[in-house]
Symmetry: C2
Subunit: 128 residues, 2 copies
């Protein structure tokens, strides 16, 4: 059994901070669960355009509000506590947080922790 605390992860090299978000990787590939689990905060007012070509990802909103635009369908969905979105088709998308949005994120296959630049591939390099 593994037991970890968010505060400890945030103080470690498993916490990644960018201009638009920060992500505490509580479980990574080397934890052997077959998925990774992150608590990610999307900063208010910072638009994030993302496209995970090599992972499926589910994102559950714990707190905060905003929208997600599905660039393939053109549809925009409301994000609020209790909403989950699942990128089951490597969907290209933009998240627009109105407030800070705290999310629980699950990646399959698990993130290793070494592919920060791949994960944020659609970000300008200087913000990653």
């Amino acid at each position: 059994m593994l037991v970890k605390k968010l505060d400890d992860i945030r103080a470690s090299d498993r916490n990644v901070v960018t201009d638009g978000w920060e992500s505490a990787r509580l479980l990574l590939k080397d934890d052997g669960m077959g998925f990774s689990f992150h608590i990610t905060t999307l900063y208010a007012g910072k638009e994030s355009r993302m496209h995970y070509q090599n992972h499926l990802e589910a994102v559950y909103v714990i707190s905060g509000t905003g929208t997600i635009e599905d660039l393939d369908s053109g549809r925009t969905h409301r994000l609020q506590p209790g909403t989950i979105y699942a990128l089951d088709n490597h969907d290209r998308h933009i998240v627009r947080p109105e407030t800070d949005i705290v999310t629980a994120c699950v990646f399959n296959p698990p993130v290793t922790g070494r592919e920060v630049h791949d994960e944020t591939g659609a970000y300008p390099a200087d913000t990653a």
Copy 2:
């Protein structure tokens, strides 16, 4: 892209209620993510003894407090917001919620939604 709301899941047959907990299955096997994702509330004062022989599970505490006892090691860990435990070895365990504990749970392989009795295999049949 799949987008779902907790309130809708709670009003559907994807919400499972037992004597000790209730679980809203936001993502199940048929959603094709390779994991399942549940928002599970463990009721205050209701001890749950669990042993998932066929799944790995990670549980992140969103709110509430209690303890988890690892029956293999004999150790007891504090549960509070920001704690995650991962049953990376099909660990036998007991959760003792002091308050209602709201958790985000991820199962690998994904739960199908049809194995309620297997999931709660260590519960007396009359509470499941």
